[in-house]
Protein backbone atom coordinates (compact mmCIF):
# COMPACT_ATOMS: atom_id res chain seq x y z
CA UNK A 1 0.00 0.00 0.00
CA UNK A 2 1.23 3.48 -0.73
CA UNK A 3 0.47 6.57 1.21
CA UNK A 4 0.78 8.73 -1.84
CA UNK A 5 2.21 12.03 -0.82
CA UNK A 6 2.69 14.11 -3.93
CA UNK A 7 2.24 17.30 -2.02
CA UNK A 8 4.45 16.20 0.81
CA UNK A 9 8.19 15.95 1.22
CA UNK A 10 8.39 12.14 1.08
CA UNK A 11 6.58 9.08 -0.20
CA UNK A 12 5.57 6.32 2.19
CA UNK A 13 4.91 2.65 1.39
CA UNK A 14 3.49 0.39 4.07
CA UNK A 15 4.11 -3.28 3.41
CA UNK A 16 2.35 -4.49 6.53
CA UNK A 17 2.95 -7.44 8.83
CA UNK A 18 4.60 -10.65 7.69
CA UNK A 19 7.45 -12.97 8.59
CA UNK A 20 11.03 -11.70 8.42
CA UNK A 21 11.48 -14.12 5.53
CA UNK A 22 8.67 -12.40 3.62
CA UNK A 23 10.09 -9.00 4.44
CA UNK A 24 13.57 -9.86 3.22
CA UNK A 25 12.16 -11.34 0.01
CA UNK A 26 9.99 -8.29 -0.60
CA UNK A 27 12.89 -5.97 0.14
CA UNK A 28 15.41 -7.76 -2.09
CA UNK A 29 12.97 -7.66 -5.02
CA UNK A 30 12.18 -4.00 -4.43
CA UNK A 31 15.68 -2.74 -3.67
CA UNK A 32 17.04 -2.74 -7.28
CA UNK A 33 14.34 -0.20 -8.15
CA UNK A 34 15.83 2.29 -5.72
CA UNK A 35 19.51 2.02 -6.67
CA UNK A 36 19.49 4.81 -9.23
CA UNK A 37 17.64 7.20 -6.90
CA UNK A 38 20.50 7.48 -4.38
CA UNK A 39 21.76 5.92 -1.17
CA UNK A 40 19.59 3.37 0.58
CA UNK A 41 19.32 2.85 4.35
CA UNK A 42 17.80 -0.29 5.84
CA UNK A 43 17.07 -0.28 9.57
CA UNK A 44 17.14 -3.80 11.00
CA UNK A 45 17.48 -5.26 14.47
CA UNK A 46 20.48 -7.36 13.47
CA UNK A 47 22.21 -5.76 10.45
CA UNK A 48 24.76 -8.52 9.87
CA UNK A 49 22.17 -11.29 9.79
CA UNK A 50 19.75 -9.21 7.73
CA UNK A 51 22.46 -8.29 5.24
CA UNK A 52 23.55 -11.88 4.84
CA UNK A 53 19.96 -12.91 4.02
CA UNK A 54 19.56 -10.01 1.57
CA UNK A 55 22.87 -10.87 -0.12
CA UNK A 56 21.82 -14.47 -0.67
CA UNK A 57 18.52 -13.38 -2.15
CA UNK A 58 20.34 -10.76 -4.24
CA UNK A 59 22.67 -13.37 -5.76
CA UNK A 60 19.71 -15.61 -6.58
CA UNK A 61 17.87 -12.70 -8.19
CA UNK A 62 20.98 -11.70 -10.14
CA UNK A 63 21.29 -15.22 -11.51
CA UNK A 64 17.64 -15.11 -12.52
CA UNK A 65 18.08 -11.74 -14.26
CA UNK A 66 21.12 -13.09 -16.15
CA UNK A 67 19.06 -16.00 -17.40
CA UNK A 68 16.27 -13.65 -18.46
CA UNK A 69 18.79 -11.47 -20.29
CA UNK A 70 20.33 -14.35 -22.20
CA UNK A 71 16.95 -15.71 -23.24
CA UNK A 72 15.50 -12.46 -24.61
CA UNK A 73 15.83 -11.39 -28.22
CA UNK A 74 14.15 -8.01 -27.88
CA UNK A 75 16.95 -5.37 -28.09
CA UNK A 76 15.50 -2.90 -25.56
CA UNK A 77 14.73 -5.67 -23.11
CA UNK A 78 18.19 -7.15 -23.53
CA UNK A 79 19.93 -3.83 -23.04
CA UNK A 80 17.87 -2.93 -20.01
CA UNK A 81 18.47 -6.34 -18.43
CA UNK A 82 22.19 -5.91 -19.11
CA UNK A 83 22.04 -2.61 -17.19
CA UNK A 84 20.18 -4.36 -14.41
CA UNK A 85 22.82 -7.08 -14.19
CA UNK A 86 25.64 -4.53 -14.07
CA UNK A 87 23.88 -2.46 -11.43
CA UNK A 88 23.21 -5.49 -9.28
CA UNK A 89 26.75 -6.86 -9.70
CA UNK A 90 28.45 -3.62 -8.74
CA UNK A 91 26.13 -2.68 -5.91
CA UNK A 92 27.90 -2.25 -2.58
CA UNK A 93 26.40 -3.10 0.82
CA UNK A 94 27.60 -2.55 4.35
CA UNK A 95 26.28 -3.56 7.76
CA UNK A 96 27.93 -0.47 9.22
CA UNK A 97 27.02 3.19 9.25
CA UNK A 98 29.45 5.88 8.15
CA UNK A 99 32.23 6.54 8.99
CA UNK A 100 32.87 2.81 9.54
CA UNK A 101 31.29 1.70 6.25
CA UNK A 102 33.63 1.43 3.23
CA UNK A 103 33.80 4.46 0.93
CA UNK A 104 31.40 4.03 -1.99
CA UNK A 105 28.83 2.01 -0.05
CA UNK A 106 25.38 2.37 -1.64
CA UNK A 107 23.26 0.36 0.78
CA UNK A 108 23.67 0.76 4.53
CA UNK A 109 22.08 -1.76 6.87
CA UNK A 110 22.00 -0.22 10.33
CA UNK A 111 20.70 -0.84 13.84
CA UNK A 112 18.03 1.47 15.30
CA UNK A 113 20.63 3.02 17.60
CA UNK A 114 22.99 3.95 14.75
CA UNK A 115 20.59 6.42 13.17
CA UNK A 116 22.58 9.48 14.18
CA UNK A 117 25.34 8.65 11.64
CA UNK A 118 23.29 8.13 8.49
CA UNK A 119 24.40 9.43 5.10
CA UNK A 120 21.99 11.49 3.01
CA UNK A 121 19.70 8.93 1.39
CA UNK A 122 16.73 8.60 -0.98
CA UNK A 123 15.24 5.38 0.37
CA UNK A 124 14.67 4.29 3.94
CA UNK A 125 13.49 0.73 4.65
CA UNK A 126 12.25 0.21 8.20
CA UNK A 127 12.43 -3.51 8.86
CA UNK A 128 12.08 -3.32 12.64
CA UNK A 129 9.94 -1.29 14.99
CA UNK A 130 11.20 2.19 15.73
CA UNK A 131 10.24 4.76 18.30
CA UNK A 132 9.05 8.20 17.24
CA UNK A 133 12.42 9.62 18.23
CA UNK A 134 14.30 7.11 16.08
CA UNK A 135 12.06 7.84 13.10
CA UNK A 136 12.68 11.55 13.42
CA UNK A 137 16.41 10.83 13.57
CA UNK A 138 16.36 8.61 10.46
CA UNK A 139 14.37 11.14 8.47
CA UNK A 140 16.79 13.96 9.13
CA UNK A 141 18.99 12.68 6.28
CA UNK A 142 16.20 11.51 3.96
CA UNK A 143 16.23 13.73 0.88
CA UNK A 144 13.15 15.51 -0.41
CA UNK A 145 11.19 13.22 -2.74
CA UNK A 146 12.64 10.18 -0.99
CA UNK A 147 10.75 7.00 -0.14
CA UNK A 148 10.12 5.36 3.23
CA UNK A 149 9.12 1.69 3.17
CA UNK A 150 7.70 0.31 6.40
CA UNK A 151 7.52 -3.40 7.19
CA UNK A 152 5.19 -4.37 10.00
CA UNK A 153 2.20 -2.76 11.61
CA UNK A 154 1.57 0.94 11.44
CA UNK A 155 1.82 2.09 15.04
CA UNK A 156 1.19 5.39 16.77
CA UNK A 157 4.96 6.00 16.65
CA UNK A 158 4.72 6.35 12.85
CA UNK A 159 2.17 9.16 12.96
CA UNK A 160 5.10 11.54 13.11
CA UNK A 161 5.94 10.48 9.53
CA UNK A 162 2.68 11.90 8.23
CA UNK A 163 3.09 14.98 10.33
CA UNK A 164 6.65 15.60 9.13
CA UNK A 165 5.88 14.75 5.53
CA UNK A 166 3.45 17.62 5.25
CA UNK A 167 5.45 20.07 7.30
Amino acid sequence: MILHLDNGRWYIDVRGPGSSDQHSLDLSLHLPRRLTAGHVVIVAENPRVFLSVIRKRWMRLLYDVEIQRSSTLDPLRRESLQHEVERMRTCTFSAKAPPDAPVGTQIFVVKPDWLTDLPEHMTLYIATSLTTQQIVQAMKRLRRGGLIVIYGNWTADYEILLHQTYQ
Binding site: M1, I2, R15, G16, T36, S80, L147
Partner: protein, 76 residues
Protein backbone atom coordinates in the same frame (compact mmCIF):
# COMPACT_ATOMS: atom_id res chain seq x y z
CA UNK B 1 0.66 -8.74 2.96
CA UNK B 2 -2.38 -6.75 3.97
CA UNK B 3 -2.33 -3.47 5.75
CA UNK B 4 -5.14 -1.44 7.14
CA UNK B 5 -4.53 2.25 7.33
CA UNK B 6 -6.96 4.85 8.46
CA UNK B 7 -4.84 7.85 7.49
CA UNK B 8 -4.08 10.06 5.67
CA UNK B 9 -7.18 11.41 4.04
CA UNK B 10 -5.32 13.03 1.13
CA UNK B 11 -4.90 9.89 -0.99
CA UNK B 12 -5.56 10.33 -4.70
CA UNK B 13 -8.11 7.91 -6.09
CA UNK B 14 -5.57 6.08 -8.24
CA UNK B 15 -2.07 5.96 -9.73
CA UNK B 16 -0.89 4.36 -12.99
CA UNK B 17 0.96 1.04 -12.97
CA UNK B 18 4.04 1.18 -15.25
CA UNK B 19 3.74 -2.56 -15.89
CA UNK B 20 0.12 -3.12 -16.94
CA UNK B 21 -0.47 0.62 -17.62
CA UNK B 22 -3.76 0.39 -15.75
CA UNK B 23 -4.98 2.75 -13.03
CA UNK B 24 -4.53 1.20 -9.59
CA UNK B 25 -5.83 2.08 -6.13
CA UNK B 26 -3.14 3.30 -3.71
CA UNK B 27 -3.81 0.43 -1.32
CA UNK B 28 -2.84 -1.99 -4.09
CA UNK B 29 0.20 -0.11 -5.40
CA UNK B 30 3.92 -0.09 -4.71
CA UNK B 31 6.38 2.74 -5.32
CA UNK B 32 9.28 1.89 -7.64
CA UNK B 33 11.89 4.02 -9.39
CA UNK B 34 11.75 7.68 -10.31
CA UNK B 35 10.70 8.75 -13.79
CA UNK B 36 12.53 11.14 -16.14
CA UNK B 37 11.15 14.11 -14.18
CA UNK B 38 12.27 12.62 -10.87
CA UNK B 39 8.67 11.86 -9.96
CA UNK B 40 7.77 8.67 -8.17
CA UNK B 41 6.56 5.85 -10.47
CA UNK B 42 4.31 2.98 -9.35
CA UNK B 43 3.25 -0.54 -10.10
CA UNK B 44 0.54 -2.87 -8.82
CA UNK B 45 1.80 -4.59 -5.64
CA UNK B 46 0.89 -8.03 -6.94
CA UNK B 47 3.49 -7.76 -9.73
CA UNK B 48 6.33 -7.66 -7.19
CA UNK B 49 6.47 -11.41 -6.71
CA UNK B 50 6.29 -12.11 -10.41
CA UNK B 51 9.99 -11.49 -11.03
CA UNK B 52 9.76 -12.49 -14.72
CA UNK B 53 7.49 -9.49 -15.13
CA UNK B 54 8.61 -7.16 -12.34
CA UNK B 55 12.32 -7.09 -13.22
CA UNK B 56 12.28 -6.68 -17.03
CA UNK B 57 9.39 -4.21 -17.01
CA UNK B 58 11.04 -1.92 -14.47
CA UNK B 59 14.42 -2.31 -16.15
CA UNK B 60 12.91 -1.26 -19.49
CA UNK B 61 11.04 1.60 -17.83
CA UNK B 62 14.24 2.89 -16.24
CA UNK B 63 16.30 2.81 -19.42
CA UNK B 64 13.53 4.58 -21.31
CA UNK B 65 13.33 7.28 -18.62
CA UNK B 66 17.12 7.61 -18.72
CA UNK B 67 16.95 8.25 -22.48
CA UNK B 68 14.22 10.85 -22.05
CA UNK B 69 16.39 12.56 -19.43
CA UNK B 70 19.45 12.53 -21.72
CA UNK B 71 17.45 13.91 -24.66
CA UNK B 72 16.05 16.69 -22.51
CA UNK B 73 19.57 17.57 -21.38
CA UNK B 74 20.88 17.62 -24.96
CA UNK B 75 18.13 19.90 -26.16
CA UNK B 76 18.47 22.23 -23.16
Amino acid sequence: MVMLITRPTTLPSQVICIICKEPVQPDQATSGSLDANNQQAYACSHHLYNRRLWVPEWAAFEITQQRIRSKAKESA
